[in-house]
């Protein structure tokens, strides 16, 4: 049974459908990426799941209990960081954790949590939050999301403001918690980072879910392709097309896809006396796959 089950939810803002028959599930221990362009309905969906926004029809079940705008009992084991960290400027990081820990009988260990999220106890733990950098606030927001030992954590753009090392560490933290059984629903525009992290993807566009898949399934949209630099790029493109493959010239490189394998491409090009100067195999790119799926959706396919 899914930990979170969102079923057929709708929400209108005037005439605009912000959520149109949204359905997806999140299983325990899974990291799910909620992906889509700006205004697609990602934050609206996350708000509905966290009980912050009403929905006109459908149902949201978390941990076997219903979540609605007026029924929040189930939210005790759900953490969230939506849009930007919610911080009281005059409280220190430690005071924030103490404040939010009052909610639950079994809060996470402060020291351990501060270490995991790199809120240094000797420095940031004692400094008022108004003096924090954006990255520091973000880390505190993530710590707050984790303070109640949640079963599900909802993170909206959690990598905002983090430096590369912090992003790397956050990825490690999320992965280790997922391995312990904590589920994550994450939205981010940093698709390269998300690609390294998520198990499943939920693609949303114009308030509708257009695809739910595992990462492997999703990458099947993105065909294997080869990027070549040759002694005669125009001729290489022409040759590839004559073989029935897709080929384009892009920023001085020949992009070829549709051949059965790389050997076929090399043999054909060498056979035409064109020298291959460099060659790269490209596959499984989240951004490319997403753009392909969104383009198909916008065309109404």
């Amino acid at each position: 049974m899914a930990l979170l089950e969102v079923k057929n939810i709708d929400k209108n803002f005037g005439k605009k459908k912000a959520m149109d028959n949204i359905s997806f599930t999140v299983n325990a221990g899974h990291i799910v990426g909620l992906i889509g362009p700006n205004g697609a309905g990602k934050s609206t969906t996350m708000r509905a799941v966290t009980g912050l926004m009403s929905y006109s029809s459908g149902s949201i079940n978390f941990d076997g209990q219903s979540v609605t705008f007026n029924n929040h009992q189930a939210l005790d084991r759900m953490g969230n960081l939506i849009e930007y960290p919610s911080i009281y400027p005059n409280l220190t990081a430690l005071e924030h954790l103490k404040l939010y820990a009052m909610d639950t009988k079994q809060p996470a260990d402060f020291k351990e949590l501060m270490q995991k999220t790199q809120i240094d106890g000797d420095n940031f733990g004692k400094r008022k939050a108004k003096n924090f950098s954006l990255g520091m606030k973000q880390r505190l927001g993530i710590a707050i999301a984790l303070i109640r030992n949640p079963k599900l954590v909802i993170l909206d753009e959690p990598m905002n403001g983090l430096d590369p090392q912090s992003v790397h560490d956050l990825r490690g933290l999320i992965r280790s918690l997922a391995d312990e059984g904590v589920a994550f629903l994450i939205s981010s525009h940093l698709l390269d980072e998300l690609q390294k992290l998520v198990d499943d993807v939920v693609i949303i566009n114009h308030g509708k879910i257009i695809e739910t898949a595992t990462m492997t399934e999703f990458f099947s949209h993105d065909k294997v392709r080869w990027t070549l630099a040759t002694s005669n790029n125009a001729a290489a493109v022409q040759l590839s097309k004559s073989n029935g493959w897709d080929a384009t010239l892009d920023e001085g490189y020949v992009q070829v896809s549709g051949a059965e394998n790389l050997q076929q491409v090399i043999t054909a090009i060498n056979g035409a006396d064109i020298q291959i100067q460099s060659l790269n195999t490209v596959t499984g790119n989240l951004e490319k796959s997403l753009l392909d799926v969104l383009a198909s959706d916008d065309k109404g396919e």
């Binding site: 009980g51 007026n70 009992q73 009281y88 409280l91």
Partner: protein, 255 residues
């Protein structure tokens, strides 16, 4: 509810530095009677060393901040995405605010009693001190007036805060209601002149309640065209309306 209350007190002491507000409330009568010799009299003691105005202002500012800050800091989201219902969150804010008014009054009362001992030792609370009776009774009436006034103004402040999510507008409204009596009287008089039914306007009712206990019922009736009982009933109705509408806005708001 207990958890919510604990969290609200934690926030108001740490974030809004309630202790400082309370210390000022305590010091206010001591400073007024210590600095100004003309204020060393029974009337000033019964008026909490003129500290009522401070109690009003502090109460209004804290009321406005307790809600508007949650929107300004974005902390409204974690506040409302927990197991607690919005009704409980709203109720915890009301209980917090009311308890702060009591704390402010108690702090001012202690400061006033110390001021009395130091600066006006001959003042006797048992002596007749005004229309309502002796010194204790007048002071009790003063406490009632402060609390009744603050609950009304705080309801208005809470309503404005929930409507515009800004403490500035709410505090501005509260300040006008607190120190702008001439303005309120003028608005009320214009309204009543245009139509007698408008004697029920909230400003007029608020003015009437402010006078309650200080002057006779007939004098109140003469001034605001409402009897004491009518003032009390209308006052209660307005309080229910103000808090009810503020709650409905708070309950419906998507954040």
């Amino acid at each position: 509810m207990l958890t919510l209350m604990k969290q609200e007190y934690y926030k108001v002491f740490k974030q809004n530095r309630l202790a400082i507000w309370l210390v000022i409330s305590f010091l206010f009568p001591l400073i007024i009677m210590g600095v100004f010799k003309s204020q060393r009299n029974g009337d000033t003691i019964l008026a909490f060393g003129q500290g009522a105005i401070y109690i009003y202002m502090a109460g209004i500012i804290i009321t406005a901040l307790t809600v508007s800050q949650e929107f300004a800091f974005g902390t409204i989201r974690p506040l409302l995405s927990r197991r607690f219902s919005r009704g409980m969150v709203f109720a915890s804010k009301l209980v917090l605010n009311f308890s702060i008014y009591i704390m402010l009054i108690v702090a001012a009362f202690i400061g006033t009693m110390i001021s009395k001992i130091i600066f006006v030792p001959k003042f006797n609370f048992a002596d007749k001190a005004g229309y309502a009776g002796n010194g204790w009774q007048m002071m009790g009436m003063q406490v009632f007036n402060i609390l009744a006034g603050m609950i009304f103004v705080a309801g208005l402040v809470l309503l404005v805060t929930n409507l515009v999510k800004s403490s500035g507008a709410a505090i501005g409204m509260g300040v006008v209601m607190t120190i702008g009596t001439p303005i309120i009287s003028s608005i009320s008089a214009v309204l009543i002149q245009s139509a007698p039914i408008l004697k029920w306007n909230p400003f007029n009712v608020y003015l009437g309640m402010n006078m309650y206990g200080s002057i006779s019922s007939s004098a109140i009736k003469e001034m605001i065209k409402l009897s004491s009982n009518e003032v009390i009933i209308a006052y209660l109705v307005y309080i229910v309306l103000l808090y009810g509408i503020a709650y409905l806005i708070f309950k419906k708001r998507s954040v």
